[in-house]
């Protein structure tokens, strides 16, 4: 049974920082202000400021002039954001076939906007499309790609439709 975590109030910006911090930690082990600053295109002073806020909320530990650590609570929050982010990217690139650049940018914004319910549905949707017995793209998705390109339904597609109403 999942414990119903009361969600901590996080601003978009805080969520962003958390996601980036955990990414850096995963990649380089230790996280410094300058890393965050570079990755996020903000000045180091902005990082210090937000770290202060996050520390007050018990999400990071940050001693002056030292490395940045996530608390367990912070790590949970960070992984949450990251999961939303990656599910959105997958949906955009693999189902809608949005180009990777745009998908990334969109996900960066949408990750803060999506409810748990929608997140779950989206996740399942991707799962439904991907983890199939044959592990190939379902026909309907190919048809959508075709429809998007041409504005027309593929013949196959129409056929399938018509078979259902042979009397018509």
């Amino acid at each position: 049974m999942k414990k119903d975590k009361k969600p901590i109030e996080l601003t978009r910006s805080m969520e962003d920082y958390l996601r980036r911090i955990i990414a850096l930690k995963e990649k380089k082990g230790a996280v410094q202000v300058k890393d965050i600053s570079r990755l996020m295109n903000v000045k180091p002073s902005s990082v210090t400021a937000i770290l202060d806020t996050l520390a007050k909320k018990g999400l990071v530990i940050h001693e002056r002039y030292s490395y940045v650590e996530l608390t367990p609570k912070g790590e949970r929050a960070a992984r949450d954001v990251e999961k939303r982010h990656s599910v959105l990217i997958k949906f955009l690139t693999e189902i809608l076939e949005v180009d990777p650049e745009t998908a990334k940018k969109d996900s960066c914004r949408m990750e803060h906007a999506i409810s748990p319910q929608t997140f779950k549905k989206l996740m399942k949707f991707i799962e439904f499309v991907e983890n199939r017995p044959t592990h190939e793209k379902p026909e309907w998705l190919k048809s959508f790609a075709y429809y998007f390109k041409t504005g027309e339904r593929s013949e196959e597609c129409k056929m399938r439709e018509l078979k259902k109403k042979p009397e018509a």
Copy 2:
């Protein structure tokens, strides 16, 4: 040929106001500060403030103590936001089957996060699902609903898969 409109820089908040203003106008003809205030759960003074900003950007016309009007530019922007909003709602409710309440809230946030490219894909995707010859839900969508509920692929679904690899 579409003229490539350079998008005016709008904050989330401004987009919100524009969408609400056009909705009010559509419903009641004349738009007053108090209407916007009520609809958006903000104080009238906040409305006055934002209207000032929007006026400076040439999106609304607002003479003191008088009705609020959208300029053509403002109206275009407003319809843009509204379109994003409604496409998102449709996608969430009709394809992912997110409940209407949540879908609405999510759309209110996502509408500011979605790029033109993603918007277009999403729109086409809905079109692809809805405007079908038979006008009924495609099988795969029913299968997804089933998969979401049960975690299992429907028999039908597996069958279809297997038919493709009769030799296996």
